[in-house]
Amino acid sequence: MTTSSISRRDLMTTTVAIAGLSVTPALSQEEGSGALLFEGRPDIAFRVNGVDHRLSLDARVTLLDLLRERLHLTGTKKGCNFGECGACTVHLDGRRVNACMVLAASLDGREVTTIEGLASGDKLHPVQQAFIDHDGLQCGFCTPGQVMSATALIAEGHAGSDAEIREWMSGNLCRCSAYPQIVDAVRAAASSKVGSAG
């Protein structure tokens, strides 16, 4: 088929980019207020998965939308976009956060790790492998956020018991309800003494 060279993801990305153009107002005006410079399109320099990026963006853009729509790192998922579901969990300066609750403009000089930055080449991170080994997913939509949360949880030292794992994984919802298998995966990964995303 001739259309097979265009992936679903490419098609969606193009559509989103066009839609983005049509709704983004030209807010290039800069205004002073005392010593501070207020900008509608601030510049940031930050690092994602070890790669440095410099870009200028609308002040409203969240880290989640920056990752998915500017940097095309679509492993980080957009679930609720209200900080409720955890599907967008990434590591910011080594700590897990909801990417939908972070304004990208605040990221200058900071470092982000996403699910794409977890594996070493083709070798999965042990937490990723543990989720496969223990069937810690069904539809898979929440899984990148679950894995990012789990790697952080283990590094934080919160895998002491199943109850503690459940409590410290509570910010990641799984509508397929794979929770028992997720706890199994986190326990197994923690006991094999794997650490954070590095």
Partner: protein, 329 residues
């Protein structure tokens, strides 16, 4: 989300000068501000990122055993700080029962008390009558679904509750919110920070435009303190009712008790009448404890769907007192 312009501030004077301008809001953890903007609850023209202001992210001891927590300390860091865990278990527990681990890595101890009510009418994506969203438009919850709403201190203008956990612990501890403003700062008792809806129902707290909480001060340690959060699931849920207690004991007798309830009013609700009666009661005398607590419920007024909160709150107060008494001194 509406358009706004953005600036990063490095110093407190810059923050205060910018914050005094109209249509300007502060960004710290962002876990509330971003959702307010998404819902159209606020639409500031300018946002000042205060996240890198020097000196606001430290926890330091003060004379007389008090502790000062800088406003930008993340919730998870405050809760797991050695001195907080050891000397103020009620605060550590309240924080760790709030939100999710990811949100607690963003949210700050100084921003958390400014969380606004979770009343579904207030947070509705389609604008509904709400005197907090639109003064004078009425209160949808008064005769609507109000099972999660207030039993104390409400008026017909607003029946919402203050939803956050840490402020309930801070009220029981008699903590002080230290603020700065271009025209001078002040010290606000945690018990007086949130406003009741009797005068200006649109307000949530006493902060003026451009006023910033820079630190929270905890007075002398409260080793025998505890937090109880009752909710519809085990984790990651707002309280139906919560209770904080800080006790001083002579053996098994209560010398001084400070009790605050959460999610029952528009501010953490101190049980002053009960506190007076609790002094001198033996911790094993459950009937006397219950009778003392009862004294603070004479002015409880249930709405159409939340009468259940009254016995729930009484029982929560009893349990948290008994739990606090068992904490090591």
């Amino acid at each position: 989300m509406h358009s706004f312009s953005f600036a990063r501030a490095a110093s407190l004077p810059d923050v205060l000068a910018a914050g005094a301008q109209p249509q300007t809001m502060f960004l710290a953890g962002g876990t509330e501000l971003l959702n307010w903007m998404r819902l159209g609850i606020v639409s500031p023209e300018r946002i000042v990122d205060i996240g890198r202001v020097e000196g606001l992210d430290r926890i330091e001891p003060l004379p007389d055993g008090a502790l000062r927590i800088g406003a930008l300390v993340r919730l998870n860091d405050a809760a797991q700080h050695e001195a907080v865990m050891r000397d103020y278990p009620v605060l550590s527990q309240a924080i760790l029962k709030a939100a999710s681990p990811q949100l607690r890595n963003l949210a700050t101890i100084g921003g958390n008390p400014a969380q606004r009510t979770r009343c579904a009418y207030f947070r509705s994506e389609d604008k509904l009558p709400c005197n907090k969203r639109e003064p004078g438009s009425g209160c949808s919850a008064l005769h609507g679904i109000n099972d999660r709403h207030a039993i104390f201190g409400w008026t017909e203008a607003c029946v919402a509750v203050q939803p956050a956990d840490p402020p309930v612990a801070l009220a029981a501890l008699d903590a002080v919110f230290v603020t700065e403003h271009r025209d001078g700062g002040r010290r606000i008792p945690a018990t007086e920070f949130h406003t009741l809806p009797d005068k200006r129902p649109q307000d949530h707290n006493v902060l003026r435009r451009g006023e910033l909480i820079t630190a929270i001060e905890l007075p002398a340690p409260a080793h025998r303190s505890a937090y109880l959060k009752i909710r519809e699931r085990e984790s990651y849920e707002f309280a139906t009712v919560s209770a904080a207690a800080a006790l001083e004991m002579d053996g098994s007798t209560i010398r001084r008790a400070r009790i605050a309830l959460g999610s029952v009013a528009h501010r953490p609700w101190r049980l002053k009448a009960a506190e007076e009666r609790l002094a001198g009661i033996g911790i094993g005398d459950r009937a006397a404890l219950r009778a003392a607590i009862e004294a603070s419920f004479t002015d409880a007024r249930p709405l159409s769907h939340n009468a259940y909160k009254i016995p729930l709150a009484k029982n929560a107060a009893l349990r948290v007192i008994e739990t606090a008494a068992r904490m090591p001194s």
